[in-house]
């Protein structure tokens, strides 16, 4: 399957003090894309604009080759919000009765099998489910109407490691089909390090970078050095840097090259957290 499941181009939305500025990125089919950024970076705004829940001031969004306003296309998009969005008075059973009247592609058998697999009681009121169970329920709904694109907004935040692991496994299963894709926003970067193929980093409403995760994990590095060595590092090699109590930290795009070029410095692999921190807290070119 060719093409991207999601193409966001030049998305702009202004709210008072906050502005989402010219946000562009893609979610290729068959991949998991992680949208990272600190709280207030614009992740939810980006997802809401991509889903048509808010009207963008500028830019375009193409989902599965069409526009989000297309009802038939919405059948193929599964969405999981950051908090439970189903009324507490309903139950998984009642949701089934509601959604089978809304989605033409609703697969009741699949839904019930997911409920069983996730050990979700079908007749219990949603208000009496735990946070992890509510999140699993939202994922069960998202996976029960033939979705090809899953969009999850902070779906793993606030969950214990076991629940998070289970959800990540479900997402990995989902994306095994080559025409499926996942866009997952999170500030828990360890989750994204486990499953994402690409990372889109948002900061203050702007995309700082969009890169393959493996490039960040296996090529990026942090040079730790003293002031003299820091001064000796080529400006072209520095992506971002900051001064700590006893050393300088410099983010470089190729740690092997940096090791050879600056043999006296310590060059460590960089985690996504460290890359984010250096971009946010440090100085940049």
């Amino acid at each position: 399957m060719q093409g991207n499941a999601l193409d966001v181009k030049g998305l702009t939305k202004r709210y008072g003090q906050f502005a989402l500025e010219d946000v562009s990125f893609s979610v290729p089919r068959g991949t998991v894309v992680g949208l990272v950024g600190e709280n207030g970076a614009g992740k939810s705004t980006t997802l809401n604009a991509a889903l048509g829940l808010i009207h963008a001031d500028a830019g375009s969004v193409e989902l599965l080759g069409g526009q989000v306003q297309d009802g038939a296309l919405r059948e193929q998009i599964g969405v999981v919000f950051d908090a439970n969005a189903f009324p507490n008075a309903l139950s998984p059973d009642r949701l089934n009765r509601i959604f089978r009247r809304i989605y033409r592609t609703w697969d009741e058998e699949r839904y019930r099998s997911l409920l069983r697999a996730m050990e979700l009681p079908a007749d219990r009121k949603i208000g009496k489910l735990s946070k992890g169970m509510k999140m699993k329920l939202a994922i069960a709904v998202a996976l029960s109407h033939g979705a090809k694109l899953l969009i999850l907004d902070e779906a793993t935040s606030g969950l214990d490691p076991i629940a998070r692991e289970e959800i990540l496994d479900m997402l990995l299963d989902f994306v095994q089909a080559e025409d499926h894709a996942v866009l997952l926003s999170s500030h828990i970067t360890s989750d994204l390090e486990k499953i994402a193929d690409f990372i889109v980093f948002l900061h203050a409403g702007r995309v700082i970078f969009e890169k393959p995760k493996d490039e960040l994990r296996y090529r990026y590095g942090i040079v730790r050095c003293g002031a003299a060595q820091f001064a000796a590092i080529d400006e072209a090699d520095r992506i971002a840097w900051r001064k700590q109590d006893y050393e300088w930290e410099v983010l470089v795009a190729d740690r092997e090259v940096a090791r050879k070029k600056y043999p006296k410095a310590v060059v460590d692999p960089a985690t996504i957290d460290e890359i984010m921190l250096l971009h946010i807290k440090g100085e940049r070119k």
Binding site: A72, R74, E75, F81, I98, F99
Partner: protein
């Protein structure tokens, strides 16, 4: 839209049971004190009001975000609330009318037709204000609009009664205004509300 209506029905179902019980108790008491046809007005207004509260519940639960990504148009979401209001008000009207009729069988009552017209007029006038207000305003202000709309509708009715001496004629005139306002409100809401951000 059937799915959206079913969701709202699940939300209001438990409240409807309590309301039914209240109406039966109040109806029994009123049958002794005054005309039971009054219950037609009370139940029509109360049932309709419950329908309007689902708009605030949708906002509070986050359902409005879910509705925004469902394969239904934003207009269908607006339509479902106007239809729900009509269905619930209609159910209240029928129920109140039934109780009124039972009361009329027991003892002679004032003219039921006047109360029927009053019920429908107040329901339509109020709905045309409270439904868009609950979409546009927050939950608290939405409730204020609920509280304000019914006395306002009653005032219009009293005003009309001052012009046309005959209560049935004035009721029919207000009913015509109510129908026109409700339709106008519905059409304006389905044209304007989808332009607003859903979150």
């Amino acid at each position: 839209m059937r799915g959206l209506l079913l969701k709202d029905f699940f939300l209001v179902r438990s409240v409807l049971g309590i309301l039914l019980l209240v109406l039966l108790v109040v109806g029994s008491g009123m049958s002794v004190l005054t005309s039971t046809w009054v219950l037609t007005v009370v139940s029509t207004v109360m049932f309709g009001m419950i329908g309007v509260t689902t708009i605030g519940q949708d906002k509070a639960s986050g359902w409005n975000r879910v509705a925004g990504v469902l394969p239904v148009s934003p207009r269908a979401v607006v339509d479902s609330k106007y239809v729900l209001y009509l269905l619930l008000s209609g159910a209240g009207f029928v129920l109140g009318g039934f109780i009124g009729m039972l009361g009329a069988l027991v003892q002679a009552q004032a003219d039921g037709a006047v109360f029927a017209v009053i019920s429908l007029s107040i329901a339509l006038l109020s709905g045309s204000v409270t439904i868009p207000c609950n979409f546009l305003l927050g939950e608290e202000k939405g409730i204020v609009s609920l509280i304000a709309a019914y006395p306002l509708s009653t005032a219009i009715f009293i005003g009309a009664a001052a012009i046309w001496r005959d209560p049935l004629t004035s009721g029919l005139a207000v009913l015509a205004v109510g129908v026109a306002l409700y339709l106008t409100s519905w059409l304006a809401a389905r044209a304007l509300l989808p332009r607003r951000d859903a979150v």
